[in-house]
Amino acid sequence: MRVALFATCLVDGLFPDVARATVRVLRRLGHEVVFPQDQSCCGQMHLNTGYPAEALPLIRRHVRVFAGFDAIVAPSGSCAGSIRHQHADTARRFGDERLAAAAEGVAARTYELSEFLVDVTGVIDVGAYFPHRVTYHPTCHSLRLLRVGGKPMALLRAVDGIELAELSAAESCCGFGGTFALKNSAVSSAMLADKVAAIRDTGAAVCAAGDSSCLMHIGGGLSRLHVGARTLHLAQILASTRSEPALA
């Protein structure tokens, strides 16, 4: 299958390993991966901070860049969520019905990584090897906007050598919330403290999730407090093999 990778702006600029891992997993499963280089940002940060007019050109751009692809895969629950739930609605808000219709088309063919693997390709075991203790944080937008449910955990369970530890209060938000982390940094930090404590209590070496923004927040807390656990994107664990292992 020919798959367009929407890397997301955050991963492109700050976490390129996550996009490379996504490419590795998809290629290993026999897909042709293309990276349309005109892509930039889905506009989620603008939209969720209350700047829809500034998001509109980004939405227009995103829809133009990805309009010709049958499957678009993003390693981010919140970006896929924004594309599916906000793009067409924002276009309509500004009276652009043509853009709205095109955005609906792109949205219908956009998948968060675990959705693509499980729902589209029907693959649970991607041939990964990761012999470490891992706990999984099911990020709010994957959970409640995309309803990915147990898909990421099913993929993780099939990883050879992995030891999964259940995270308590897993479905509680980590406190990131985009600009919330800056505007309400005290509350955000209080939420992060509880998430970090829950991760520590699992004894896991790695906290995995399907969204680099949440992981940036959680990872920032784990590092600041020297918890001794680190974060990895779900894609990085799924990309890990015996010959090319990801480090825990």
């Binding site: 600029g13 901070t49 209350g50 938000c173 406190g175 939420m191």
Partner: protein, 490 residues
């Protein structure tokens, strides 16, 4: 979009605005360890009860859909339903009053109480009267109002403010309640313990006397049925039933959105409300009354219909579904922000997620600009809402209204608006964006990371990004962006 011409809730009366922005009030609340423990304990118990009660019904989602549809019909045809209600209540011997805002509602109620010659009223727990600051208005007129709901009584005796819609004293534990009773409750036993049964007994003795002597009662309403003119209050303690039946005069203050078209609509709402609110299949006391009945219950019944910013809320098509709210508090109990800050930080009698969308609409966003941002948009509120209010989407919409309001009241864009516009421009072109990702990396290598390293070796950024580095480390920037890696692999 403009929202001119619709009166919002006026400042200086009632409780819909805080004295400081949410982030600052929240930071203060976070520092209160007792409050944090009380809240975490109480919300986790209610959350679990609600989840169990909801799981018993296999048609829960259908009930939510039905409730949302009924409320949307009410909102779309509010004018007709309100006139129908007025006609039915009047036919049955009640008197209907229309209050544009808190000031007018307080004036009407104060006048009605004064006309009875009574200087004391008993009150059924009511959000509407808290919203308009009725107790304070009555006090100014020399009328004493006694809250009879146990939690409201605790709040009133403690000279405190409610911090939860349904459990107004959720921020108090039983030891604190014992101390409040000992200090403030007339005739209390000096040896009172903090045993819940003993506390309830003390309140019962205190309140019983009020029920037996009060000539006037004031209530809110959970629902009003347009086709019959029936008012309804659901409660747990029976104190409401006392107030609704014993006094000669009953005055009900109700937001205009509390209507249901027909009696059979209660089938939906009486399944949703108790399970969402207290995690019970059915609340212990459900009181309904239609007008007055000679020799049975209050001889005088007044219904005050309150707008106070509701019509202004109705005017915003992306905000109006907040008026579906039936004040169950399920969204408060699951909210990770509310769970840590409690209700006072929101500055309004409507705290938590629903408060963050309702209060700014009732007052106008300029008077509550920080509330729409008091959420991570985690979506837990929408999942539990029994009338399916998409609170996260509404928060996002209200954020844009706040930003628009800021933009129209300042000639120059603020730093955030300028930054957002700059980011939109930079991300809008492939060459600009590729260049920016390289420049950001070079900037870090050229010394930004050194400059921003504190003595302790932490990377600290200047404001507003210092809000991040205060409690979290920054990721190490990569050697190259993904797009540069992709271009290089050919």
């Amino acid at each position: 979009m403009t929202y001119l011409g619709m009166p919002t809730a006026p400042p200086g009366v009632g409780q819909l605005r805080g004295s400081e922005p949410f982030p600052r009030a929240a930071e203060t609340a976070l520092g209160n360890g007792q409050l944090r423990r009380n809240l975490a304990n109480a919300t986790s118990i209610i959350r679990a009860k609600r989840a169990a009660a909801v799981a018993e019904l296999d048609d829960w989602q259908e009930l939510r859909t039905a409730a949302a549809a009924i409320k949307d019909d009410v909102l779309a045809n509010l004018d007709g339903y309100l006139l129908q209600l007025e006609a039915r209540v009047t036919e049955r011997g009640g008197v209907v009053h229309w209050a544009r805002d808190a000031t007018e509602a307080n004036r009407i109620v104060t006048g009605l109480v004064a006309a009875t010659g009574s200087r004391e009223v008993v009150k059924v727990k009511s959000m509407a009267t808290q919203e308009i600051g009725l107790n304070e208005a009555l006090a100014e007129a020399g009328i004493l109002a006694f809250e009879t709901d146990l939690a409201e009584l605790i709040v009133q005796l403690g000279h405190d403010r409610p911090s939860h819609i349904l459990v107004p004293a959720i921020h108090r534990n039983r030891t604190e309640i014992r101390d409040i009773f000992l200090a403030e409750m007339a005739g209390v036993e000096p040896g009172l313990t903090d045993d819940p049964a003993a506390l309830a007994e003390a309140a019962r003795r205190y309140l019983r006397q009020k029920f037996l002597t009060a000539k006037v009662a004031i209530s809110g309403a959970n629902f009003a049925i347009a086709e019959t003119g029936t008012l309804m209050v659901v409660e747990s303690e029976g104190n409401g039933r006392m107030c609704l039946t014993l006094p000669d005069t009953l005055i009900t203050v109700m937001g205009i959105e509390k209507l249901l078209p027909s009696f059979t609509d209660l089938e939906v709402f009486l399944q949703l409300l108790p399970r969402s609110a207290t995690g019970e299949r059915m609340n212990p006391y459900t009181s309904m009354w239609t007008g007055v009945h000679p020799g049975d219950g209050p001889a005088q019944f007044h219904l005050v219909l309150l707008d106070n910013g509701r019509t202004a809320t109705l005017a915003d098509e992306r905000g109006r579904s907040a008026l579906r709210c039936i004040r169950c508090s399920a969204c408060l109990n699951v909210c990770p922000v509310y769970e840590r800050t409690g209700g006072h930080a929101y500055g309004s009698v409507y705290p938590g997620p629903i408060g963050a969308v309702l209060s700014p609409q009732l007052t106008g966003v300029a008077d509550n600009p920080s509330l729409p941002f008091a959420s991570t948009l985690c979506g837990a509120c929408y999942d539990v809402c029994p009338v399916a209010i998409d609170i996260p989407s509404m928060l996002v919409h209200l954020r844009s209204r706040v930003n628009q309001d800021n933009a129209s009241s300042h000639r120059l864009p603020g730093p955030e608006a300028a930054g957002m516009a700059a980011a939109s421009w930079a991300m809008g072109g492939r060459r600009r964006w590729t260049w920016l990702l390289r420049a950001a990396r070079l900037g870090r290598l050229a010394g930004l990371s050194r400059l921003s390293r504190s003595a302790a070796g932490r990377r600290l950024l200047p404001p507003p990004l210092s809000a991040w580095t205060r409690s979290r480390d920054l990721p190490t920037p990569p050697e190259q962006s993904f797009r540069d890696w992709w271009a290089g692999q050919g």
